[in-house]
Symmetry: D2
Subunit: 346 residues, 4 copies
C-alpha cells in the first residue's frame, strides 16, 4: 500500500493519466463511438503514429498492457517450433509469470551487459543453433527481443540497433523492441534512436503508454503492412480486445498531438538528471550508469535506513550483506517540488 507520507519514487506507473487525456475523455465521454477500435478517434491516433514513425503503411493496434503486448506479438510472429532470444534480465524472461511459455514458446536467455544484448551475442546464438547437428531436436530462435530503454534504464545506440537488426535478419529471424518506457528514451539527450529508426530496423515494436502518460495502453506497430494477418482476431482470441477501443485510441491520439509523448519523456528525464546530479554530488554510488528515468542507487546500510524512512523506492537486489540496490523512478507526473524534497533528504 502506498504510504502517502513518503515521497513516491517507487515506479513510473503510480499516477493516472496526463491531464490532457482526462480532459479529452470528458469531452467525448457521452458521445457514441463505434466498437472495438473501429472508431474515428482510434483511426486518427493510428494516422498520427504512422506519421511519427514515418511508416505510412504500418499496422497499428492498441492493447492494454505490456505483458499482454509482449505475449501477443511474440506468439503471433513466431512459428510453433520457434523461441525468442532475450537478455536474461529481459522483462519477458523474468517478470511476466511465464506469459510467453503459456503461449507455447521458449524464452531463450542470453547473457547481457547493463540490460543490453550485444550484436555479437545475438550472432553467436544464431550460429550455435545453425551449427548444432541436433538443431532439428531443438527450439529454433525465430525472434530477438530487446527493450528500449532496457529494464536497467540503459539505451541501445542507433549503431548497436542497426547491427542487431542486421544480424537478426541475416539469420532469417525477426526483431522486436519492447518500448514500455519509450518516451523516456525519446526524451533523453543521450538517445539517438528515433521512432522512424525503430520502424526501419524492427519488424514489430510497441510504444508504451501505461508508464508514459496514459491511464493504460500500449500502441503496437508493425511497420510492414500485414506482418501478422488477422491480428485483430488474434487480439480477440487472447481476450485483449476492448469493446470501448476508443478509450485507448483517444489516449494515443492525445499523446501524439503536439509532441506530448516526447514532452512527457523530456520532463521525466530532466527531473531525473537533477536528482542524479544531486546524488553524485553528495557521493552516492550507482549500481548502473543509466541515462533515463530510472536511477539504481547502491546504498550501504546507513544510507538505506536514512533514505527509505522518507522516500518510497523499489527494492532491486541485495548484492552483499552490507549493500542494497534501490531504484528511484521519475515520470511525466513527477513535480519539481517532489524532486526538491527528495534532494533535500539526501
Amino acid at each position: 500500500m502506498t504510504n502517502t507520507k513518503k515521497l513516491a519514487f517507487a515506479s513510473d506507473y503510480q499516477q493516472g493519466a496526463h491531464p490532457d487525456i482526462l480532459k479529452r475523455l470528458s469531452e467525448i465521454n457521452l458521445q457514441p463511438h463505434a466498437g472495438y477500435g473501429t472508431d474515428e478517434i482510434s483511426a486518427s491516433a493510428r494516422e498520427k503514429i504512422r506519421a511519427a514513425c514515418a511508416a505510412p503503411e504500418a499496422d497499428v493496434f492498441f492493447l492494454a498492457g505490456g505483458t499482454q503486448t509482449n505475449a501477443l506479438i511474440i506468439g503471433a510472429c513466431l512459428q510453433s517450433y520457434q523461441g525468442v532470444l532475450a537478455a536474461e534480465t529481459g522483462h519477458v524472461s523474468l517478470h511476466e509469470a511465464g506469459a510467453v511459455e503459456l503461449g507455447g514458446h521458449k524464452v531463450m536467455t542470453l547473457p547481457q551487459q547493463e540490460g543490453k544484448l550485444s550484436a555479437e551475442t545475438v550472432r553467436g546464438a544464431f550460429r550455435t543453433f545453425a551449427e548444432d547437428e541436433n538443431r532439428d531436436h531443438m527450439v529454433m530462435p525465430g525472434m530477438v527481443y530487446l527493450s528500449q530503454p532496457t529494464e536497467y534504464g540503459t539505451l541501445y545506440s542507433l549503431k548497436e540497433l542497426e547491427e542487431i537488426s542486421r544480424v537478426t535478419h541475416a539469420a532469417g529471424a525477426l526483431l522486436y523492441v519492447d518500448g514500455a518506457r519509450l518516451a523516456y528514451a525519446l526524451g533523453c539527450p543521450a538517445n539517438d534512436v528515433t521512432l522512424a529508426d525503430l520502424a526501419r530496423l524492427c519488424d514489430a515494436f510497441y510504444i508504451g503508454g501505461t508508464k508514459c502518460g496514459a491511464l493504460f495502453g500500449e500502441a503496437v506497430v508493425f511497420p510492414k503492412k500485414d506482418t501478422v494477418p488477422h491480428f485483430f482476431t488474434i487480439i480477440k482470441q487472447h481476450g485483449a480486445l476492448l469493446a470501448k477501443g476508443f478509450v485507448t485510441g483517444l489516449q494515443f491520439d492525445v499523446l501524439f498531438t503536439d509532441g506530448l509523448y516526447e514532452f512527457c519523456g523530456r520532463h521525466a528525464i530532466a527531473v531525473a538528471d537533477r536528482i542524479r546530479d544531486a546524488l553524485s554530488e553528495k557521493g552516492y554510488a550507482f549500481a548502473i550508469d543509466s541515462p533515463t528515468n530510472q536511477l539504481f542507487l547502491l546504498l550501504d546500510r546507513a544510507q538505506e535506513a536514512r533514505l527509505t524512512e522518507k522516500i518510497e523506492m523499489s527494492f532491486w537486489e541485495r548484492p552483499d550483506e552490507d549493500h542494497v540496490v534501490m531504484r528511484i523512478a521519475t515520470c511525466w507526473a513527477t513535480t519539481e517540488e517532489e524532486a526538491d524534497a527528495l534532494i533535500a533528504l539526501l
Copy 2:
C-alpha cells in the same frame, strides 16, 4: 464508423463512463497509488462488492474485458482434461474467437431456448457423459457456463438457477455465470436473482462493468476464498494484470457506492420499457420476448428500410428473405430525449 446523424442504439458499449467515475478519476489522478491492484481504492471496491454479494470471504479481482474474464475463469477452474458446457448461443461458444479453446478446453455446446439452458438439458449432458463407456476417451464436462442476462436479453429465474446449481454440483462440476450485462438484470423488475443469490449458487461469476457504466472493466467474484489459488499470478501470466490496477478498482468503487450500479441498470430498463411499449403499440413484432435492455425486432423489408435510415441498430440475423432481426440496445447513458426521438420515428 459511427454515423453521428443517426440515433445510436446499436450497442450498450458506445459511450465512455458514468460521469461520477470520470469525476473521481480526476480527483485522484495525480496522487500516487500502489501498483497491480494492491492500492487502497481497489481494496475498498473489493469490500463493497463483498458486502453487496453477502460474501465476506469472497475473492474479488478486476479484469479489463469480458472475453478475457471468461477465458481466465474457465481455464483456471477446469482441469486440463475438462470442458465447459454452454448454450450453443453462448458468448463463449460463438463470439470470442476461440478464446476458451486457445486455453486448451472444449466448449461443449447444448441446445437452448431463447438463450437459456434448462436444468434438464444440463442434467442430461452430465448423465450422457457418465454413462458412456468411452468417457475416458472423451472430454469431461467440468463446468456449466450461463450468462445473466443471456445474449438474447432473457433472464434465469431464481428457481431455474437453483435447479441448475443443484444439478451441476451433483455432477461434481462448477457453475459459472457471465454477468457482462448484470446491471440490466439487477435493474429489471422481472428479475428475482440477487448478487447474494449468485454468490450462494455459483462457484464464480463476474459483474460486468464495460457495458454497465464503466470505461472498461469486469469484477470477478469467487464467493469461496481460494477457489483458485494464485489467481493473481494466473492473471499476470495471461497478460491481464494492469499496472495501474487502481483505475479499474476505482470504477467499481464508484459503481458500488450508493447503489450506482443498480441505478444504471434501472435507468436503461426504464428507457427500454418505454421503447418496447411504443413498438408494441405500433404493431412491431419481436423475435424474442426479452425483459432487459436489448430488444430484438423482427422487421419486414419496408420497416427495415425506414428504421435503418435514421436509427443505428445491430444486425442480428435474417430468418428469411423478407425479414430481418435487428437489435436495439439501451444503456445507462441513453437519454430520455434519445428515446423520444426514437419513438417518434417508429
Copy 3:
C-alpha cells in the same frame, strides 16, 4: 478385459501385426539403424508410399497413433485463429479427449449423414462464416476433416470427395482425410477412391497402420512438398518422434510391398461381406448400411442377450429402451474359422 471364451469381434485393433512384419523385424532386429526415422528402411517405405500415391514429391512421416496424427496435422496446418470443420460424429469431435482443443483449435461440428459430410454442408459453413459481420470475432474455418471410411464404416465416393475438395479449396481452406481404416476402403469393391485420388484432392491424409496390419503406426502424407515446414521438429516438440523410427518405417515398408496393405483390407472386407450376408439372411437389422469392415447391428433385447453371450462386440448406442446398436468389426487377422463360428451362432 478380453474374455477369451467369446468370439472376438469387438474391434479391429485386438491382434498384433501381420506375420510378415514380425518376420522382417526379427531379421533386422540386431542390426544398427540410424535414429529418428533417418534410416534406410524408413526411406524405402517413404518411396513406396510416394509411388503408391503417385505423388513423387510427397512428404511422408510415420507416427504412432491416430489421435496423435490428427492433432499434429490439424495443429500444424491451421493458423492460430482457425478451427477445423468436422462431422459431429467425427473421431476428432468426440473420441480424442479434446486433443485438437488442447492444441488451441476449435472443432467446428457440422451435421452428417451416416458419418459423412456433404459438399453442400461444407459450402454452407464457409459461406455462413464469410457472410457474418462478426466474423473477425469468430473462429475462422481453416480446414475440413473427413474420415475414409467414416466412423460408421461408410465411404465417400470419388465424386463426393472431388466436390468437397473443390468447395474447401475455393474457400481458401485445406482438406484433410483421416485414413485410420484406409485399407478397408481400398480393399472394398464399393470404393472408387484411390491413394492417388487422395493425393490429388487432399492437402494431407494419413494411411492407417494400427488398425490395418501394423503393431502400431500411421503414415502421414502431405502430397505437396513443404506443406508444413519443419514438421520433423513439430513431431519432436509434441513428443511424437520415436528414437527407433525404423520400427515404424519397417512396418509400412512391409505393408507397401507386394500390395500387402490392400490385401489386408480385401481380406477383412470379404469376411465382413460373408457375415453381413448371413445376418441379412437371418433377418437381422442394420442401423447403418456400411460396406466396409464395421457392421452396425440393430438388436432387440432377445437378440442382444443371445449374441452377447458368445460374441464380443462393441456397444455403440441405445436408440430406445428396447434396442441396442452393437458393432461387429473384422480385420486383416479375422480367420474364416472365426467367421464360421460367428455365423453359426446367429
Copy 4:
C-alpha cells in the same frame, strides 16, 4: 544414415528389442487383447513393476517415448503458473524441441556439474523465488527434474537424491526423475539407488525401455496412487495412448521377468568398462568421468581422424579448435566381438 562398414557405437537406440521380447510378441501376436492397455499382459507388467519398486499402490502407465513422457508428467503435475527446475544440460532443457514450453510451462535452468544438480543449488533456487518480492509476477518452481543416469552418464548417489528429495518437498514441490537409461544405472556397480529408493523419494519417475532393451516404450511410475487423477485421459488427450497397449505392456512384462531389465544394464556396463579400461590404458582422455554406458572421449585432431574413420560415435562438442568430445555408447545389444573390434582399433 548408418554406415554399416563402421562399428556402431553412436547411440544406445540403434537396434530393435531384446530377442525375448520379439519371441513373446510372436507367441501372442494373433490372440485378441483388450485395447488401450486394459489387457492382461499390461496388468501383469504393472504388477511386476510395482513389486520391483516395492510400491504396491503405485500407478503405472506405459508410453511410447521419452520426450512424450517428460512432457506429459511435467505438464500433469504442475499447476498452470508453475515451471520445472532442471539442469541447463537436462534433456528437457535442450533436446526436446520445447515440448515442456508447448505445454505452457517454463523450464527454469540451473547450473550443473557433470550433468548433476546439487541439493544446494536446488535449495537456492527455491529460496530465491520465495524471497523475491515480485514472486507473484514470476514463474513458481513447482517441480525438480533430474535424470538418472544424467545426460553425461553420471549418477546421483542415494545420499544426493535423498537430500534433493528433502529440499524439494520442503519447498512444497515435486521430484521427478527421468530414467530414460535407468537400466544402465541399475546395472552399474557404482550405483546405490534402487527402484524402491526412487519410489520412496520421488513423486514420479519413468523406467526407460527404448534405450534399455525394448523396441520402444517407457514405464511411468507414480508411487502414490492418484498422484495425477485421470492420467489415462490426459494420455489420450495428448495423443499418447496406443490402441494396442498390450504391445508396450508386453515389453515391460518381459523386461521385468527374471531380472532381464537389470541384466541388460549390467551387460552394457560390463562392455563399457572393458572399453573404458582399454581407452585409459592407451592414454585417451575423457571429458567426463562417467561410470555408466556412455563414454565421453576428449580427442585431439589426429585421434579424431583415426577413430572416426572406423567407428561411428556421436559428436558432442568442440571445446576448442584442436579438440572434440565424442560419445561412445554401449547397450544391451553390444556384443563382446564388437567391443573387441573397437579396442583393437584404438
